[in-house]
């Protein structure tokens, strides 16, 4: 359902992704691990369509209505409405914008794209409250401004809530574990696990094995210098934990 072919991309004419290949099937959880500066975050921004990054070669294919389409030709909002979701490492604060209203605008944009009736304010609120309950979160999230004065853990949980509302098919979680204490990490991981299904897939970008104790991946990829240098099962993450990246790189 999602395939990256020979992707080369970078920022300000400096190549960061240097020939990346990856295939993700529905129901799978992939982990991408690698040292700082290996291009993991760049990869997530390129897939989401951030305009600072330029693609020089390759394709990123997504199954849209049973056809593999190159999403590099789509704008970030079109990609999102077609099922790509990037959970940000540093979710952006948007002062003055109410979280519930933001969620509704986002949800309805996706509904419009799929030709489904948009939801009015009250039925949407009821819908979100169910999601909040399902994730074991507190409803006071909704009345607050988007990510403003949220703690690190709250910001990440807000990303999980958005994921639950939009039901994307491919979620890329960019260091969802960074800056979280163990309790928050467990809560976020628990939310992600609840959202896993046969229809959707996840790519977890992380430095640490710790996250993978809570969200168990099907495949682990080691990223270095803009490409995957080794792939394996969940045991590969343990190897990194014990021996470090250097051992795998050299």
């Amino acid at each position: 359902m999602f395939e990256i072919k020979n992707l080369h991309a970078g920022i300000a004419s400096k190549e960061v992704i240097k020939g990346l290949n990856l295939t993700v099937n529905p129901g799978e959880v992939h982990a991408i691990m690698g040292p700082n500066g290996s291009g993991k975050s760049t990869f997530s921004k390129v897939v989401a369509g951030h305009s600072d990054y330029e693609v020089s070669e390759g394709e990123v294919l997504l199954d849209i209505h049973f056809k593999m389409k190159n999403i590099l030709l789509l704008t970030p909002d079109e990609r999102a409405r077609n099922g790509i979701f990037l959970a940000f490492q540093y979710p952006t604060e948007v002062p003055g914008v109410n979280n519930l209203e933001f969620l509704r605008a986002s949800f309805n944009a996706t509904m419009r794209e799929q030709g489904i009736q948009e939801m009015d304010a009250s039925s949407f609120e009821a819908f979100v409250l169910k999601k909040i309950e399902f994730l074991g979160m507190k409803p006071d999230f909704l009345a607050r401004q988007v990510n403003v004065d949220f703690s690190g853990g709250e910001k990440k949980r807000n990303e999980v809530l958005q994921m639950a509302v939009l039901s994307p098919r491919l979620c890329i979680l960019d260091e969802i574990d960074s800056g979280l204490d163990v309790d928050s990490l467990k809560a976020v991981a628990d939310g992600v696990n609840r959202l896993r299904s046969k229809e959707n897939a996840f790519i977890l970008i992380t430095h640490y094995q710790r996250l993978l104790d809570y969200i168990v991946p099907d495949k682990v990829h080691i990223f270095n210098d803009g490409r995957i240098i080794k792939s394996g099962g969940k045991e590969l993450a343990k190897e990194v934990e014990t021996l470090g990246y250097d051992h795998l790189i050299h």
Partner: protein, 411 residues
């Protein structure tokens, strides 16, 4: 003969036929005869070449009739093309009459050139006396019908609040497809001891018009004047307020939004005079500018000698949506006293690309993402509107401006 007279002598001659000018009007005309248009050396016109907009010879607007539907939520008085045409006021609290222009309504009348131009036309001043508290707001409705580039529309209103009277006044314009002209409104108010006026004004003239709204208010002991300005329409839309806090305990709050688009220019000039000790003022104006538009914020605070215990605050925030838009923001504090609290601040920012990307990454198209962020920026002012019905009216008017040009999809 001066340039100003050349533009307005036709109007004056016409006006004199139906209403011979009083000495007061003659005196003002004489003063204007010797004055040229203020150039950019004048502080109020530093960023605005006013003669460019007002050099064509003007003629008086025509008297027209127009069927008006009254909204029962308001007492309503209606001006068509600047002439008082109907009153729908069913309360003893408000009395409306027309006065000769020589009546010196304000203790310290303004000498601003555009308000003098309003006086120079002669004609009567609409006098609104608020004798006691009126719970229903008063709606002053201006309707402009069939104006052309030469028509001159100059309504003049004087409001007097009796001691401890309270009222809310809304001024709004309905432009019926006029193609320009000069709208030069003069609104004066005097607030007696302990009275309260909440004053909302929507500048919503047609996009080819030049408009000026002079707003001159005198606030007496313990009285409160709150105003909200929404500067939205006109090719050049100028709003000029002079608020005098004449006696102890007088207070004022001015809030405003200006939404400038295309090649238009919106100016706000605010002067607050703290003439007495223990007087208070707060100003907060926000602007959103698009295209090649321009805006000016010029906020002056005077604190007179001996006026101790004054608290005066001013804040101006701007959001520029295009690299070609221009804002000139100029706070001025003139303080002749040490025992005062004064503060001012101005910010100019652009849309934050991280915020836009975040919203887009959640499926929201770029124009709607921009609109959401602009609305959030404006809402701080919109939410401060105390009357719910007026808040809806204003929000609609603001959304309409932001939607023009098709950049903003409705949410």
């Amino acid at each position: 003969m001066g340039q100003i007279v050349e533009s307005f002598e036709k109007v004056w001659a016409e006006a004199d036929q139906s209403h011979p000018p009083k000495n007061f009007v003659r005196r003002i005309r004489k003063e204007l005869e010797s004055s040229p248009w203020p150039d950019r050396g004048h502080e109020d016109f530093k960023y605005t070449n006013i003669s460019k907009y007002l050099s064509s010879p003007f003629i008086s607007s025509k008297k027209e009739l127009f069927l008006i539907e009254n909204d029962n939520a308001y007492h309503t008085i209606t001006f068509i093309n600047g002439y008082l045409t109907s009153k729908n006021v069913d309360t003893q609290s408000i009395q409306i009459s027309e006065l000769e222009p020589e009546s010196h309504f304000l203790e310290k009348p303004s000498t601003q050139i555009l308000s003098l131009l309003n006086w120079a036309q002669g004609g009567k001043t609409v006098h609104i006396q608020v004798l006691s508290t009126c719970t229903k707001p008063l709606f002053i409705q201006y309707i402009n019908v069939g104006s052309d580039s030469q028509s001159l529309i100059q309504p003049r209103i004087a409001v007097a609040l009796s001691p401890h009277a309270k009222i809310t006044i809304l001024e709004d314009t309905l432009d019926m497809g006029g193609s320009g002209g000069f709208v030069n409104k003069l609104f004066m108010a005097t607030l007696a001891e302990g009275s309260e006026l909440n004053h909302y004004r929507i500048q919503n003239e047609g996009h080819k018009a030049t408009s000026n709204g002079s707003n001159q208010v005198e606030v007496h002991k313990d009285a409160s004047y709150k105003t909200w300005h929404f500067n939205l329409g006109s090719l050049l839309g100028r709003e000029a307020s002079q608020i005098r806090l004449l006696e102890e305990g007088a207070r004022t709050q001015l809030k405003g939004l200006y939404l400038s688009t295309e090649n238009r220019q919106l100016d706000q000039h605010i002067e607050v005079f703290h003439d007495s000790p223990n007087t208070y003022s707060k100003q907060h104006f926000k602007g959103i500018l698009r295209g090649k538009s321009k805006a000016v914020f010029n906020g002056r605070i005077y604190v007179a000698k001996g006026a101790s215990g004054v608290d005066a605050r001013q804040l101006n925030n701007n959001l520029l949506l295009s690299s070609e838009a221009e804002i000139d923001t100029k706070p001025e504090l003139i303080i002749e006293n040490s025992d005062v609290k004064c503060s001012h601040g101005a910010t100019v920012g652009q849309l934050n690309p991280d915020q836009i990307f975040y919203l887009m990454a959640r499926g929201i198209p770029a124009p709607q993402a921009e609109e959401i962020i602009c609305r959030a920026f404006a809402e701080e002012i919109l939410f401060s509107i105390e009357n719910v019905d007026i808040r809806k009216k204003v929000t609609r008017a603001c959304a309409h401006v932001l939607n023009q040009g098709g950049l903003y999809a409705p949410v």
